[in-house]
Structures are given as structure tokens and as C-alpha cells.
Symmetry: C2
Subunit: 392 residues, 2 copies
């Protein structure tokens, strides 16, 4: 498997990330850095990342691990042995960034806390991801995505409109939004270090991430103290999903010209100057009536007909735009991966790597650290270094 850290065209080329994360939020954060060209070294314990055990399995690689760890190198090392810990500290010495998402206190007990690492590499960017931050009554708690969905208010926003039962968003939005936020913060810190020479210690809590993410339209009505409006109010309106004669479509109109276009498409020109809907504020105020009228009208059309009238988009697009690439891997065969969404002019970031098998890069990383083959063999024999190869 070729590694994208040898690709000299990507913006984070030359940046080395020591990845001490497991599960989803941390691994996706560092994967985003790898996709931008960083050399991400994932440290795994002998039992391996839990994600190696879930999802569709193919020749010893699971889809869950693959989709959160593309483009990384793996070193599988027992850090409970002093010589194992020493290896990770040696890697930290050459790293620009360290990311970890253990529960607060754990990384210090492992001997890889900020103080220990910064003593060896004073300008490192040290990022800790957690559910609730370092302090507070819940800091010690195990956290999964649904807990944050519940506590951030998202499950309430998403609740069933008739029964009031809280509902989850069916993608692990809290983990993945935290990953994006972390990747962004790490990159700003890299920029800052480039200009000033200063490292940075950063903490990111999943709950903080989601409150901030949800705020703009979901909680924004709480902005003006003393003029609060119930955030649930704007969420009470039905989804922008409309039944047609033969299926479901989505459609919406915000500006005056869009509203006019929609009225024309529905042959309801009478609504254009209707005082209930004439201005953006009026449309916002009378949103339930407006949706009911739209809903009744759209229900009389075939999907294709009305979508053509709305000039809406077809699903053919995803193939058109090559967002899904197929990589022919020598071990795994053909594997689908989404390309990074940002397109650069001139040269595209090429995805050429999948995710490493556990400990796949032990030997090359040891050689980079200056160890000789005979020494490496001793580490393997002492069960400090571990490796699991592809299965069938």
C-alpha cells in the first residue's frame, strides 16, 4: 500500500501527527489531517482499536475501521512495558501534533500526558478530545454519540411531532462534528505555530461542540436576553418533505423571487401577492399555513413533473461528480472511498491509501527511529511490538 505522506502536493505535507485516539471522534479528526497530507501515525494497543471489531469484515479489515482511519500508518505497541512507552515518546519527539481521546486522567496515568510530552517536544500541539471536558461532574463518564445528542438538545429538536418522544439523528453527528471541529482547531494551531513558533494545548468537549454547532438556527432564538422564544417553536413545523402522487419530494423557497417561482410552478399565482406570504417576515410568521398550502398543491403532481417544474436536481449527480472513488488495493481488492470534499484547482488530492492493518507499519517506523533489524526483532520477541496481518 503506498502512503500519501509521500505525496508532496497536499497542504499538510510535512506535518506529523501522533494519533493516540480510538473509536470515532479522534480517528476521523486525524483522518481529515491525513487526507490533507499529514503523516498520521496511529498507535494501537495489542488489542487494537475497537472499531477493528465492528462493521462489515473483509480479509481482516472492517468497514468501520477503514472508514475512520484512511491514509494512516499503524504502530501496535504495548506501552505497559517501559520500552514500549519509550518508543511512543520517541515518536512524540518528532511529532508536530498529538491527539488523544481517552477519558480525562487516563493519558497522564499512561505516561503520555501533556507535561511528559512537552518536556520532550516543547512546541507540540497537544489536542485532547472528550465528552464533557476535563472538569465538571461528568468529566469521568464514558460518552457515546447518543448521550451528546440527548444532552445537547438535538434529540429533543428531533422529537416525534405527535407523541413528543425524543428521537435521535441516525448518523453519529456528534462524533463527526467533533472530528471536523478538532481538525480545524489543530490546523489553526499549526498555522499559529508556523508564524510564532508557539505550540498549543487544546481541549475539545463533544458537548461544547454540539451546543455551538446547533446554536445558529436551532437555539438562536435564545440570543436576546429577555426576548427569548421557545427554540422548539421553529422546529414544530413539518419537515420540508412533501407527498406527491407517486412518492416524496423536497422543495423550498426563501427569497421573494424564489417564492414567486414556486407559486408559478404550482399554478398558484394568486399566492404571490397574498399578504400572508408577500414578504420574508410574513412567510416566516405564517409558515404553517404556507406549508399546508404547498403540501396540498404538491400532492396533486407526479414527482418527476413537479421537480422538473421546480428545476430540481437528480440523483445521477453523485456519479457525475466522482465523489466516490474506487481504489484497487492489492490486499482488499476494489474498495469504495469518498474523496475529500474540497477540490483544489490544478491538482486534486489523490486518495491512494486505505487504512492500515494493525501494526502494519511497526518495522518502517522503528527503522525511521534508527533501530536496527536485530533490535526490532527483539522488540517483537519481547511482545512489545504486535502485528495482525490480513485474514482471508
Amino acid at each position: 500500500m503506498s502512503q500519501n505522506h509521500s505525496d508532496h502536493t497536499l497542504p499538510l505535507n510535512g506535518v506529523r501527527v501522533l494519533d493516540l485516539t480510538t473509536m470515532v471522534s479522534g480517528p476521523i479528526a486525524t483522518m481529515l489531517l491525513a487526507e490533507q497530507g499529514a503523516d498520521v501515525i496511529k498507535i494501537e494497543s495489542p488489542t487494537g482499536d475497537y472499531m477493528r471489531q465492528v462493521g462489515t469484515e473483509h480479509k481482516g479489515m472492517t468497514s468501520s475501521f477503514l472508514t475512520c482511519n484512511r491514509g494512516k500508518r499503524s504502530m501496535c505497541v504495548d506501552i505497559k512495558q517501559p520500552k514500549g512507552l519509550e518508543l511512543v515518546l520517541e515518536l512524540a519527539k518528532n511529532a508536530d501534533v498529538l491527539v488523544q481521546n481517552f477519558r480525562p486522567g487516563v493519558i497522564e496515568r499512561m505516561g503520555l500526558g501533556e507535561d511528559a510530552v512537552r518536556a520532550l517536544k516543547p512546541d507540540i500541539i497537544y489536542m485532547s478530545i472528550s465528552g464533557f471536558g476535563k472538569t465538571g461532574p461528568q468529566a469521568h463518564q464514558r460518552v457515546y454519540d447518543p448521550v451528546i445528542q440527548a444532552l445537547s438538545g438535538l434529540a429533543d429538536v428531533q422529537r416525534d411531532q405527535l407523541s413528543g418522544v425524543p428521537r435521535m439523528v441516525r448518523t453519529i453527528i456528534c462524533d463527526k462534528t467533533t472530528a471536523l471541529t478538532a481538525a480545524h482547531a489543530i490546523t489553526t494551531a499549526l498555522f499559529h505555530r508556523e508564524r510564532t513558533g508557539e505550540g498549543q494545548t487544546m481541549d475539545l468537549a463533544m458537548l461544547d461542540t454540539m451546543v455551538s454547532f446547533l446554536w445558529p438556527e436551532t437555539m438562536g432564538s435564545l440570543s436576546f436576553v429577555g426576548k427569548e422564544q421557545d427554540p422548539a417553536h421553529s422546529q414544530k413545523s413539518p419537515d420540508l418533505v412533501f407527498k406527491t402522487v407517486d412518492g416524496y419530494i423536497t422543495a423550498g423557497a426563501n427569497s421573494n423571487s424564489e417564492w414567486e417561482g414556486m407559486c408559478n410552478a404550482l399554478n398558484r399565482q394568486d399566492l404571490i401577492c397574498d399578504p400572508r406570504f408577500k414578504t420574508a417576515q410574513a412567510r416566516s410568521k405564517n409558515i404553517s399555513q404556507r406549508r399546508q398550502i404547498m403540501s396540498d398543491e404538491i400532492a396533486t403532481w407526479m414527482s418527476k413533473e413537479i421537480l422538473e417544474r421546480f428545476d430540481s436536481a437528480g440523483v445521477a449527480y453523485i456519479v457525475d461528480n466522482n465523489i466516490i472513488n474506487v481504489i484497487d488495493d492489492e490486499t482488499l481488492g476494489e474498495v469504495r472511498v469518498p474523496r475529500p470534499p474540497v477540490q483544489y484547482s490544478g491538482e486534486l488530492p489523490r486518495i491512494t491509501t486505505l487504512a492500515p492493518f494493525q501494526g502494519a507499519n511497526n518495522r518502517e517506523l522503528m527503522l525511521e527511529l534508527g533501530y536496527k533489524d536485530s533490535e526490532i526483532n527483539q522488540y517483537v520477541q519481547d511482545q512489545i511490538l504486535h502485528q495482525r496481518n490480513a485474514g482471508n
Copy 2:
């Protein structure tokens, strides 16, 4: 209102962003840069950003505009007049980044396309955000968040489990995920320019963003070509929302030790060694049975009792951790804002600014460009510069 571009402690301090975006995806992207210290100059047309017209309104500021445009400066200028366009090009000359989210082709017609801007500022980072990218059959189309929810597959993932009716996620996840992705990409480009001196032209499509965002667990079962599994399968299981005697809770267990803890909390130690649930892979395979058993057990407890047993978190946290700040603004009074989720050691990024009124910074920006007061007055008289002050 003090401006955070005078705050010298933030990582993007000294970076200037020319913000030609409206609505949500672009404005939040540049707001994230402003929160990290960038000086973001929002250019508004005389009619202003559409978001100034929606949401809760208070003294001429709407919650929708406020929550997408914190920390920016506003210049309101009629670029249909040649002297207005010239002003924006002068600002571009001093900008590190330009962000725009007009539909493909529009910015070129306005005279602010990449070629025009790069001629004046060769190393600018030029970011275009769109719904479907620059090319392809849908490139010309108006796009709102629900359209991308539908096309990316999210509305299908979220569909009603009984009726199969597609459902939307009730927060504009596509707009906001695109904003985070754009902010991250811009920052990597700033880092790259710092190291190499090279600018960058970047395009980001909302649909690409969401396919990439959803991929890890939602679409990941499509990874291995020839071994595909229906992505809907893993989404068919019920939400992790459980009814208790007096309400609803969420709870989950992944690893062996967590599963054991949950069985103990529920007084169902018999399940720990049950072959259906003993390993992660078995639990993943028998997920429906497992949820049914958990659901039945949890239904016999009071929420507080069982949550204490699960050692779960209380909502008190959000106040504890100061994620919501209250700013006392001289015009708007007390206003709630979420603080940026990333916490830096030593010094916190302080939020001291809200969002600008339309054209609030016209004069100071003109003075920075070197114009004299008398000249500025002429621009105002010629209706090239516009301004709307606070209302009551």
C-alpha cells in the same frame, strides 16, 4: 462594539478574510475564522444579507444574522456601480482569503471572479462554496439544506421506520457541516501558503461534503466492492431512546466491560455470558434482540434511578462548563452566545463582539484604504456606500 481582530492572542490573528457570502454555509465558515482571530470583512449589497430578515428581531438585528456573523465587520456597498466594485477589489488586494457562495458563474459576472482577484493578489486563497460544484447538470440550481439532505441519502437514513416516509434532520446540518469543512480547508491552505508562499483555489460542494461526512458509519458498508451490505440495515434498528417509568433516557454499551456494567446495572448478570451478546461481533449481529431486552428492562425503572446506576450525566453540565456566554452589548443589551468549543490552555478566546449592523464599518474600512472623510462622504452621497443603523 469592540472587534476581536484587535485581539492578539488568537491563532488566526493577522489574517484578513474578504467575505462575499450570504445565507448560512459561507457566513458560518467565515464566522469560524473570525472566532479564531481573523479579521473578516463582510461585503453586503444594499439590500443586505437575507438572514437580516429572518428569525427573532431585536433593535434591527435578527437572531439569524447574529448567529451566523459574529465577530465580523460589515461594509455595505453597491458593486453595480464601478466605483463600488473598485472598492471591493481594493479590499481584495489586502486580503489573505476570499470566500464566496454565489451560484457558479455569478461571481465572474460581478467582476470578482478568481482571475480578476488573483491578478491583483496572486497568492490569495480563493474559496467557492456551492451546492453541487462548478460543473454537472445541477450546477446552476438553487440549493437549500433540505435538497442536500435528500440527495445525500440522509433523509432516507432518517426515514420513518414504520411508514418509510423520508424525514429530515431538524437542524441545517448540510449548511453547517459545509461551513466547518470550508473553515478547515481554508486554514490548511493558509498553513500551506505560510510554508510555500502559494495561494490556492478551492471549490467545495455541499453534496460532496455530506457524502463524505455520512460515509464513515452510514455508508461504510458499501466499501468493499462485491461485498456490499444495505446501508439502511444498520439504521433499521430502533433509536437508543428508551422509555422509563417516568420519561425517556438514552444509554448504550459497546465494549465488553461496558456491556458487563450495563447487565449489572439492570440486574441481568445472566446476559453477560449469553453467547448472543458475549462478543462485540455477536452484540452487533444480535442488535435487535439486545435492544428489545434492554428496552424491556429499562422500562421498569425510574429515569433518575437507572441513570444513577448507569452513572450518566445531568443537564446541569451546560451551565457548569460556561459554554453559553452572555455579552452585554451597548446597543442590543444582554445577548447569549456560545463560546467557541475549543479551549486553549492559558488563555481562552474571548468573545467580545456580536454581529455588525449593515454597513457598520464602512467608514473605518474606507479610512483603512486611505480615503479621506470628504471622499467617503461623496461615496455615501452617490449611494455607493449604504448603512442601516439599529432600530428600536
